[in-house]
């Protein structure tokens, strides 16, 4: 048959080679490598799968459904491959190991590591396709980093939301979900400077102007009855960006000034910039997350309260319980996989007002694929501060549990001032300091608001309307689109229908009403520290969510529910 086939008896039998050493070497090698390979394979196959990744703040791929169609078009195989790659045992820990390995590819000069830093082409990215039938414009370059800013939080908030399936309201098909809901924040990439991650800012004067104009529209709609405020909040890259990369980081001050310069005198602009600038040596921004800290929000809230001429509860141990959760590694690790961020966690601090009674009602949006709004759940009474101490990468969700909801805070202030905040996630940290300033606060995320803004605010008797966006959002075209749509969209998330059980997020801890009188008891383990949060190094275990607390039905609750029912009835009428 051939040269090699001299002796058929050696077929698949380990042949004795002339050189015994070679054979010994081969036996040893094949044994070692087989055992190692088998053990690794067994570990990957049989250890429990991760299911979700805390570090990346997302659910991992699921085992795909087998259908004839999915097998024939290959999607089953693709998803299966993805499942095995994505949903591996101990994923988060292995990811950290991988990030550590990748760190060995080189060194950081001047302690800086740039992640996809480049000038993004802002305008082109948000250009809508032409309406006429002409050929599509040349594809623009992708932006430096596509960061879906809200995905993480909304995921979490969906998990936290408690929905009783039978009683939920949902939108009809007539209300299209926001087309680019998963907003890609336009940025110039992320620079890790030392242990601080900075999302670099692109800026856009023309969008800033449009942002100012849409706020003017709100002012015109409400006239003298409502004070309208605009507070554009700078982000950390404005204050901590080293000179060497400043050419990739546009001036937020100039962009904020540009926005304010296009506001009329009727809109009250709040200068958060100057007050934050005074405190850049304090922890006003997270190093590992793209948000600001409670302390940063505090200074801005104080500036706002001054502008609004409302009473303000200064930060002090007498007024606030300070809660500290350590080990916080925020979104910036997920975006960059930068080991320096992972290895340098920070404290997450929030302040619970002590001497004000308040009651919080959540109207959670039910989200589907791609954060499409499916409907709105029944109101839930809960605390403003939710316990995320077991989900350390999601600690920013401590404030209201995330973005996809309308939050109503009723306080014991009783001064006749009722505030509505239209905001992005930066706005989530503000309200904790305003409970003593307004008797009602409505907090609404511009990405998740399905009512007509004018009707809704009039209905709630709003006296003050605050637009609180960070500089990135204030100069992003989709933000302007959201605000414009909120003025024109229908009065309602339409008809009451039943949401199928499958779309209803799993219930969890928060279906309890905040019981104000029990507050001191639940926080007894917390150490309190003095005013400036910077002084505090203490790590405190955070208040357990008051799950077992019995909920007294206050009169306020009843009113609240009634109000809600009113709206939905009204809505039903309109659509019919």
């Amino acid at each position: 048959m051939g040269k090699k086939s001299a002796d058929p008896k050696t077929l698949l039998r380990y042949q004795t080679t002339d050189r015994k050493k070679k054979r010994a070497s081969d036996i040893l090698y094949v044994t070692v490598i087989s055992v190692f390979f088998a053990v690794t394979a067994a570990a990957i196959l049989f250890l429990p799968r991760s299911g979700e990744s805390q570090l990346e703040q997302r659910k991992l791929a699921k085992f795909p459904e087998v259908t004839v169609e999915s097998v024939l078009n290959g999607s089953f195989m693709d998803e299966m491959t993805l499942f095995f790659r994505d949903n591996v045992p101990m994923r988060d820990r292995l990811m950290v190991a991988a990030a550590q390995i990748q760190e060995y590819t080189g060194f950081r000069s001047n302690d800086i590591k740039l992640h996809n830093v480049a000038i993004a082409e802002a305008e082109e990215f948000y250009t809508e396709p032409p309406v006429t039938g002409t050929a599509a414009p040349p594809v623009s370059e992708p932006p430096a980093v596509t960061v879906s800013e809200t995905a993480a939080e909304t995921d979490i908030s969906a998990a936290e939301t408690t929905v009783s399936p039978a009683e939920t309201t949902t939108t009809e098909e007539t209300e299209p979900p926001p087309e680019d809901d998963n907003v890609n924040i336009l940025n110039n990439g992320i620079a890790v400077v030392g242990t601080r991650a900075l999302m670099l800012y692109g800026g856009n004067f023309s969008v800033g102007e449009a942002y100012a104009q849409v706020i003017e529209k709100y002012k015109k709609a409400f006239g003298d009855k409502v004070n309208v405020y605009c507070m554009v909040v700078p982000t950390s890259s404005e204050f901590y960006c080293p000179e060497s990369i400043s050419s990739y980081n546009a001036s937020q001050l100039k962009n904020i000034e540009n926005i304010y310069s296009h506001l009329s005198e009727d809109v009250i602009s709040v200068d958060a910039y100057s007050v934050l600038q005074l405190h850049t040596n304090e922890n006003i921004y997270f190093r590992t997350d793209h948000h600001w800290t409670s302390l940063g929000a505090y200074y801005a809230a104080r500036a706002f309260a001054e502008a609004a001429e409302v009473p303000f509860t200064e930060l002090s141990t007498a007024e606030y319980d300070m809660h500290t959760v350590d080990g916080y590694v925020g979104t910036m690790y997920g975006y960059t996989q930068d080991i320096e961020i992972k290895n340098n966690p920070e404290d997450f601090v929030y302040y619970v007002p002590k001497n004000i009674d308040y009651e919080v009602t959540y109207y959670n949006y039910i989200l589907g694929e791609g954060n499409a709004i499916l409907g709105i759940a029944d109101p839930i009474k809960s605390d403003f501060f939710l316990d995320f101490s077991n989900m350390k990468s999601s600690l920013y969700c401590t404030f209201m549990g995330g973005d996809a909801k309308i939050t109503h805070v009723h306080t014991s202030t009783g001064n006749g001032r009722r505030l509505a905040i239209f905001k992005d996630s930066y706005g989530n940290a503000l309200p904790q300091f305003l409970f003593g300033s307004f008797e009602d606060i409505y907090i609404m995320d511009m990405r998740y608001f399905t009512y007509n803004a004018e009707d809704y605010l009039k209905e709630k008797g709003i006296t003050d309307l605050l637009f609180a966006n960070n500089t990135f959002h204030a100069t992003t075209r989709s933000t302007v689109k959201y605000y414009e749509r909120m003025l024109t969209q229908g009065r309602t998330p339409a008809v009451t229908t039943t949401v199928p059980t499958t779309t209803a997020p799993v219930a969890s801890q928060t279906e309890t009403q905040k019981n104000i009188s029990e507050k001191p008891e639940t926080t007894k383990e917390t150490k309190e520290t003095t005013a400036k949060g910077t002084a505090a190094e203490t790590t405190v275990s955070v208040t357990e969510p008051p799950q077992t607390t019995t909920v007294p039905e206050t009169s306020e609750t009843v009113t609240e529910t009634a109000e809600n029912t009113d709206i939905s009835e009204e809505n039903t009428d309109i659509t019919e």
Partner: protein
Amino acid sequence: MIFADLFFLYIFLPAVLVLYVIAGFADKFIGKLRRKNRRGRFSANENPVTNAVLIIASLLFYAWGEPIYILLMIFSVIVNYAAGLLIARKEQPSKAALAAGVTFNIALICVFKYSEFLISSVNSLGLSLPVPDIIPPVGISFYTFQSISYLADVYRGDVKAQKNPFLILLYISMFPQLIAGPIVRYGTIAEEIVFRNLTLSDVSEGSFRFFVGLGKKVILANQLSIISEQFLDGNLDGLSAAGAWLGLIAFTFQIYFDFSGYSDMAIGMGRCFGFRFDENFNYPYISRSITEFWRRWHISLGSFFRDYVYIPLGGNRRHQPLNLAIVWFLTGLWHGASWNFVLWGLYFGVIIILEKYTLLKIANKIPKILLHIYSIILIVFGWGIFYFEDIGRLGKFIRIIFGISGNALWDIVAQNAFTGNLYLLIAALVCSLPVGKLIRAGYENSLKAKSGAAAAAFTFGKAAASVLLLTVSTLLLISGTNNPFLYFRF
């Protein structure tokens, strides 16, 4: 399915290996029975069970990415099987059957890989024919070429026509070499298909080769692709000359480690199954001329064009420049259905023709270092042509690397990426030199030496290296950073 993936590594491959070992025992048993009955004579297929396992595994492997196109591949196998038999039916091999078979294969690749390109090229001359939207089947460039080589070799009498269609199916579809080569000649494995003598040494060498290939692909190529994509895929307006060079150099290493890593994995797996494929790469970046580069780069493709195009056209005996031009046009086109690949092929064709009349005649008078520099610059520049399918972007990129675009020459992004990947780039440089060859020579010498210590040390090192390569590759695959598959257009 691709090799550098957890599903392949930890599910598909182990399953196939286990089945293969079991099938091996079955074959052995069947062989014994047979020889008893037939007084020790061999049959035409001594490994029916292992071959069956390989065929089923290969079809599954292909179906994993291309469930429908598997029918196309099987159809192609049937046609080529029949063509092979027809060619060799009579004493005098049939030219007509060869022509028909080769035409079929060329038609197949033209329709499924080049129709969109051909029609839009024709359209650009003023016509407006409907442009078909066909996603080329994975591996079509490889398996059609293997089929052509089979038919040509049968015609020439170099190999016998295979009478068992399943063995042709195995030859064409064998998963280690199915989607990314090397282009294995039928003659190379004709004997092994029917009779394999798998030794422990094969398993040892083959598995080590596989881990080396995996490491090249996952640790080097995938990491390098992060750099090349960062600088070459983005907006060229903001690209500095330093960034452009960094991206291009990263791509130069990336494509070598990606492609040769795949070849290593293919050769290694083939070896574990008892097949010996020919080498596909031989340290191409140490070449001293472009002519030499193409003898070291993708050897199976170069020898294919040499044996089945260049020499039949007349080789160096008549109109050699024309023959070279045709070969290099085709070589370029083979890499992708886009004009930049044609340009890239012709670029090398022109250089090789020029070298024939100039450089190669005086090469031994020129310092070696200059020859290395000359070659590597032309190679790197060639990868620039290869990378940009958009000719407009290519032009802009060329202006940037020569510093005449008006863009900055240097910026902090390039500097940061350079320092941030310096060790990776150094590792890439070292690994593209024949270091492995040196270590291997040391290992083999240690086996011959009297003392067992050196042999033990080398064995230990080999095992440790494999464990390390597998562990690091697995971690990097899990972290999912960049795992591009460069061969979809090949």
